[in-house]
Subunit: 306 residues, 2 copies
């Protein structure tokens, strides 16, 4: 038993997976579940994700030793205004958001004395969202990044590290601006590009769009997975990590100008050189244990339904 009571504020894919994994590992005695919408709360209850359920975040955090914000980043200000007076002295407060400097900027000023804020980001997820999409193994073999300020209680960082390790993750500590820059190119810009090309297809005339869907296995469908991620969560990522995203998008665009010109000019050697060096990166990712070596992701497409 690591914590007597934890409070999950928000119960989507990440919140529900934490609930299931923490229960499975016997890490907590009581899981308080709170969310803003009554329908979502009822769904969480029917899935038996927690021990108590409330629409009031302030009520959920009462007496909690560990409070985990699992809402979109943009809700942090409102949630903190609500829960700050109810947080227990000595409690650990963390979050699971994809942008860390913004989390510090919003939460730190509202933090009551004696509460330890350790921002966190589990690099885990799927393209599905909501309480029914969670599963206990989500964090197994994945990274979780913590970005505490230098003056944060070391025991709190250690306790949270142990919690994530018990959920199956490897934990890294880094500073928030560095996290935001690395995630901008690793995660945020790839999502932006994927959303963009799927949007381009969505804008095509209906006949052509139908054909793109029909023949999507020739490349396009790979992009649709991350472009099916939660819209609110991703809206908030781009609203709160703007500078790092614009910096990395700028690099992508400069490179795309060069590649665009190579296509226009029919520059075979330039195309071949790029396409050759990009192959090595995938091999590095497989070697790092971050990707399957199976062809086509090991994907099994259902047989034609026609």
């Amino acid at each position: 038993m690591m914590f007597k009571k934890i409070a999950l504020i928000g119960i989507g894919l990440i919140g529900s997976s934490i609930a299931l994994a923490a229960r499975q590992q016997g890490l907590v005695k009581h899981i308080a579940v709170s969310t803003r919408k009554a329908a979502t709360l009822a769904e969480a209850e029917s899935l038996r994700l927690g021990d108590s359920y409330t629409l009031s975040a302030a009520e959920a955090v009462q007496d909690a030793d560990l409070v985990i914000l699992c809402t979109p980043v943009g809700a942090y200000g409102a949630v903190m205004a609500e829960i700050a007076p109810a947080l227990k002295p000595g409690a650990i407060l963390t979050d699971v958001g994809s942008v860390k400097q913004y989390a510090l900027d919003v939460i730190q000023p509202l933090l009551p004395e004696g509460v330890h804020f350790v921002p966190g980001h589990p690099l885990a997820g799927t393209e599905y969202s909501g309480p029914s999409s969670g599963f206990a193994a989500l964090f197994k073999g994945r990274w979780c990044i913590l970005t505490p300020d230098a003056n944060v209680d070391a025991a709190a960082v250690k306790a949270l590290t142990g919690f994530w390790q018990a959920l199956g993750s490897s934990v890294e500590v880094m500073d928030a601006p560095h996290h935001d820059l690395v995630l901008a190119i690793t995660s945020h810009v790839p999502h932006l590009i994927a959303y963009n090309i799927v949007g381009t297809v969505d804008d095509l005339a209906n006949d052509t769009k139908s054909e793109v869907i029909k023949y999507s296995a020739s490349g396009f469908r790979d992009f649709t997975r991350i472009a099916a991620s939660d819209p609110i969560m991703w809206r908030d990522v781009f609203l709160t990590n703007r500078d790092a995203v614009l910096e990395m998008l700028g690099r992508f665009l400069v490179d795309l100008d060069v590649l665009h010109a190579a296509v226009r000019d029919g520059d075979g050697p330039a195309l071949e050189a790029l396409f050759t060096r990009t192959r090595a990166i995938r091999r590095s990712i497989i070697d790092a244990g971050q990707e399957t070596a199976a062809a086509d992701f090991g994907r099994v497409t259902p047989p034609e339904s026609d």
Copy 2:
């Protein structure tokens, strides 16, 4: 038995898969394998992909009832100059290239009288290449597009249709320019974008690049699969389908300008609107039987090796 002798000119992923599938289905008596490099030919022979092996494409096509060009598109001119005099009258000539107008432009003028050219494009593949990457089930449940000229012998089109159906594919016939435009947005531009972002990461300083590889499961790794595709094949696609690629890339870039501005201006409603409508496209692709509904492609990442 559909054909007494087929000749495969080129024995990479597609050629080797045709050999294995045609054999498994008992469609042919003799498979002649030809390729330009001695090492590749030896590999094909050690894999027992064919019945005869030769470095001379002209020798391979002798007496063949069906000749399938499985080389990169850019090699078609040289291959045709070599094989044209050796093609049997009445033979069917086809290819598996990703660009169809170029195939017609290069092959048609060199076609001997009495040989039926039916351009083809199986929409199937993986990120691996070479003779050892082929497997008999590659074409099962996939589309194969044929783009014959209006004056081509209907019996030849019918015979080739039957061949692809026997390999497990559904066959569609369309005109070459339409194929090239649809594939530009379905396949070629997605590959270009994937190659580009992987190139952007490859250009980062070594420290940052290592971190991107380490944390790539947060989005980036999805792009690395198609950016690991065969460099020569893809160089030739962009050299031979330039106009359609530039047209579709132009649409993508206009959309990206708008999205870029939405991020810069912090336009939450615009971001949310785009991210919401892109979700529906993936659902359509799953409903069309072209994608798995399993979370994360059903991908199983190996556990951390550390």
